[in-house]
């Protein structure tokens, strides 16, 4: 292995892969350092990519030149849009993945990338020169010099697995944890915390009676994550079904009886688990009035007989797990291939990071993924992309890529992470975004392609299909808004036949703005009265682009208001604190506010205002300070 790199990425999971690809794409000599080459791109938990808010993140990663969307498209064995009947802003693209194919394809993409090398090794410490990261110390005693590093350790930092009362040190099932790096991070002055997550049992397909379950098929018309999939066979893999079954009161009784055996309830696990992804023990205790909980039975691939029991994560002893599983309809004779387990691991409290994901403790050191307290492949990948980009830019002495809350779910996540403080693993939700209607999966390219081009994450040639499609949608929209529909008798009759009432003069766009009027209902009319170019463009739109077009018209009023609100608030809340702004020196700030501000070091007034303990009055004072500072600077 060469001894000097621009950027070293520690960890080859979803965060590490995107970080390494982004840094390499920006022309930096990049090394992806992994403990074991065979584990690169492994899906540790569920065999799926996307979901609500997460699907939007995959699209954002795609718009910013990342790999997750394309790899997911190529290796998916079922596609399903969640909230498919809802408005486009809250639809969640999701797919079931063949785990083995996914890891294989991601490894291939990494291997094929220019400026990127993969190497085996375990990071154990940091080399510091002149207050900046200068390299990594490896477990074998060797060193790697680098300009910047991205650490993505997932659940490996002092990872501890629990199955019932048995525990062992591991990051994943049979993989040893990273022991030394926690101390090295603490040594830099970073505060570490401990989180917990869990994964359900896997059972053998041949031992399951699917006839007792409900079939859960995918969508008939799959929607791809990546714009790059338009140029290739899609879907590439054979598509399969998932299956749905459920627990019942008898199962719940057994779980209740067995609680003393669960390390979650015996107090043996101290790390905090996620409320949005509760273990079955939690579900039974906290929602005792629910007579059943659903279990999705998901295949882990086309060429494996492993099935993933989504909804049944727990940390009870193996024997108890077997009893529980076998009380569930269709799983009476199921053979457990791997028991459910809980894992505890160290995190670095993310308020010690800038939104660029650089640690304030050591310039040049970036963190991404579960080490920052998040959960989910998509959250990890989104952070990886930002951290890799910014590590590369930091080496070049360039300003970091920062995404705002109104620009991307990734922006919402990064801002939440560095300002809110965590007490459970963080997962993105659409309700975390105050501008949800702006952040649909369908608008990701419109939102982010410009940034991708400006930062060199996509070339103009690569972005051309996206830009063309955007321009096409814009031209059709313009045409629809210009095409007048006069309320003469003939037109009224014609439209009422289509269930559309016409009272006063409007435009085609005006008709589509009404709830319940879809493009199909007025398709012929469009073909007739649209200006020829727009009509041609309309005919060429892909189904998703047609939905997007109508959604844009329907959301228009709301979106305009949200944009106005963004602009209004932005003027004050996006004011940036000057470098080294002394919160402690401000008379009038309460001790609590000063403590929070000094600890989190918010970059903007908006971030400061979201800190717990920072009162509206304190925000007013800070604003006054910033305005004054701005005036002094201008004078």
């Amino acid at each position: 292995m060469q001894a000097r790199w621009d950027v070293v990425v520690v960890g080859g999971g979803h965060a590490g892969a995107e970080a390494a690809l982004a840094a390499a794409r920006l022309g930096k000599q990049t090394l992806l350092l992994t403990r074991e080459m065979a584990t690169v791109g492994r899906m540790s938990c569920n065999p799926a990519v996307g979901g609500l808010a997460k699907g939007q993140v995959v699209r954002e990663i795609d718009a910013l030149g990342g790999a997750m969307g394309l790899v997911a498209d190529r290796t998916a064995i079922q596609f399903k849009v969640l909230n498919g009947s809802r408005g486009t802003a809250v639809r969640g693209l999701r797919c079931q993945s063949d785990k083995a194919l996914y890891a294989q394809e991601l490894s291939r993409v990494l291997g094929a990338a220019k400026n990127l090398a993969l190497g085996e090794g375990t990071a154990a410490g940091f080399l510091v020169r002149g207050g900046r990261l200068a390299g990594l110390l490896l477990e074998d005693g060797s060193t790697l010099a680098c300009g910047a590093a991205v650490v993505t350790t997932g659940t490996f930092l002092r990872g501890l697995l629990h199955v019932g009362d048995k525990q062992r040190e591991a990051g994943r099932w049979n993989e040893p944890p990273a022991r030394a790096l926690s101390d090295a991070l603490s040594g830099l002055g970073l505060r570490l915390g401990r989180m917990k997550t869990g994964t359900p049992p896997r059972v053998r397909a041949g031992t399951v009676d699917l006839a007792k379950m409900t079939r859960a098929p995918g969508d008939e018309r799959p929607v791809a994550f990546s714009f790059r999939s338009r140029g290739e066979a899609f879907p590439r893999q054979r598509q399969v079904d998932c299956w749905l079954t459920h627990t019942d009161e008898a199962v719940h009784d057994l779980i209740r009886e067995s609680l003393p055996l669960s390390p979650l309830y015996s107090g043996r696990i101290t790390g905090r688990g996620p409320r949005y992804c509760p273990s079955i023990e939690d579900k039974v205790v906290r929602f005792s009035d629910k007579p059943r909980h659903q279990i999705f039975v998901e295949p882990e691939g086309l060429s494996t007989d492993w099935l993933y029991l989504n909804g049944l994560s727990m940390s009870l002893p193996e024997k108890t797990q077997e009893s529980i599983v076998r009380m569930i309809p269709g799983l009476e004779r199921a053979e457990i291939l791997r028991p459910a387990y809980a894992v505890e691991y160290d995190i670095v409290f993310p308020e010690q990071l800038d939104v660029s994901l650089e640690t304030r403790a050591l310039p040049g050191l970036f963190l991404a993924g579960q080490i920052n307290g998040t959960s989910g492949y998509e959250e990890a990948a989104g952070q990886g992309l930002v951290a890799g980009t910014n590590a590369a830019r930091s080496v070049a002495g360039e300003a970091p890529l920062r995404l705002g809350r109104h620009e991307a779910y990734i922006g919402v996540m990064l801002d939440d992470l560095v300002t809110l403080g965590l007490d459970e693993p963080y997962r993105l939700l659409t309700s975390r975004a105050e501008h949800r209607l702006l952040l649909g999966a369908d608008t990701a390219y419109a939102r982010l392609t410009g940034r991708a081009l400006a930062f060199g994450l996509l070339s103009e040639r690569e972005a051309a299909p996206v830009l063309d499609a955007e321009a096409r949608v814009a031209r059709v929209t313009e045409g629809l808004n210009a095409a007048r529909v006069r309320p003469d008798r003939a037109m009224k009759e014609r439209l009422s036949g289509r269930g559309v009432s016409l009272v006063e003069e409007t435009t085609l766009g005006g008709l589509l703005r009404r709830p319940g009027t879809d493009l199909e209902a007025i398709e012929e009319l469009c073909a007739e009265i649209l200006e020829a170019g727009a009509a041609r463009d309309l005919a060429a739109l892909r189904p998703e682009e047609r939905d997007r077009l109508v959604a844009d018209l329907r959301y228009e009023g709301f979106v305009t208001r949200e944009r106005d609100a963004v602009a209004r608030v932005a003027r004050s809340l996006e004011r940036v604190f000057p470098e080294g702004f002394a919160f402690a020196g401000l008379p009038g700030l309460s001790a609590e506010a000063v403590e929070k501000l000094e600890r989190h070091r918010p970059r903007t007034l908006g971030q400061a205002s979201r800190l717990p303990g920072v009162t509206p009055a304190a925000v007013t004072l800070l604003l006054a300070r910033l305005v004054a500072a701005g005036r002094e600077a201008a004078a």
Binding site: A53, R86, S572, L589, L623, R625
Partner: protein
Amino acid sequence: MARLVADPDREGDVLVAPATPPGISALAVVRLTGPAGATRRVARQIARRLPEEPRPREAALHLLVGEDGRPLDRALVLFFPAPHSATGEEVVEFLCHGSPAIVGGLLAAARAAGARPAKRGEFTRRALANGKLDLAEAEGVAALAAAENRGAARRALSLVEGDLSRRVLAAKEAILDVLAGLEAGLDFAEDVEAADLLAAGAALDAAAGEVEALAATAARGGARDRRKVVAILGRPNAGKSTLFNALVGRDRAIVTAVPGTTRDAIADTCEIGGETVTLLDTAGLRATEDEVEKIGVAVAERAGEGADLVLYAIDATRGLSEEDEDFLRRGRGEGTLLVRTKTDLVGASSLSSSPAIELSVSALIGAGLEALRAQMAERLSLVEADGELLVLERHREALASAAAFLRDAADLARRVPGEPELVAARVREALAALGAITGETATEELLDRIFAAFCVGK
């Protein structure tokens, strides 16, 4: 913005300002606020015997000296250590005699000792900055300072104490419940059933009703802040001016036995039901050839028409005359209170028992005045209502727009096909509007407007 951040880089200054209005009065308050130690140092230049560590919140009599070292006044001095003061900083108050010369001398002495005259709203801004007040509370302080009567002061005080903030927060809780239901259905589509939009619509309508009720309370408070006018009318020499003086509490109108003494309308204020009311004494109503008196009668009639309440005085020694009957026929019903005057001059038995006459008073000996005041308060609807809040114009706007967003959201919730994400978007707008009251979404323009409305030293 200049007003909002008046010299924010000089937050460390000791500020001085009079806390009472200019003019001659029994007492005036001059106040210092600033960093601990520095504020006391300024105070000790003025009250030279003030100890280095004065006892907190204990009034002590001190000799105050001017910038030339000569005695200014003997006054009470109060010390409030940080953070237990109105501004959250160290505060020293001088309670001196209310003469412009003394107040002016004190301000000059403080300036000479290093204090800086406070700018508009600066005391309150410091309180705000120190977390002593949220925005709604700060506005309450402004209203308190401007409150001209006890009722307005009481409402302002409840704002300072967070009544409005509390009720807005309660409304927000209810709305957040609905929003949480919507969001859960959207974010956990696989696990949680989609929110029942019809139920959400009903809950949002209920919340809108709550917010509208808050806004209505606000409107009542606002109407109350306009001062009511009471005119005393009656024939010449019916005892109007005596009654006027009795209600005002001093000899404001000239009283003689000569009919037609009052030619013009005389205005003064009195307190009725805790509120300041403008009281008008008018020329007696009669046909006259006197040019001046004629004008006076016309003025009286106009005053009667414009008043919220007319006290119609009837001389008990003379009883109802034709002119009285004539006036009452043209009458204003509820808006007129018939008052029999000069009851000290007649025996109780000889009082005519006209059913129209509701009250008897002797302004001269003060008999019946309390009953009269109570009647006036009732007629003017100045009876204290529970839970009434002072809500400033900005709050009224915010409440109204929040209510409108909630109604809009409720309508969207009833629409088919349902679009919960649009309902949620409107609900969020409503929450943002409510947040504007307590300052959570404060933008610069907002702050600019608020601080422009402040007066120096509270």
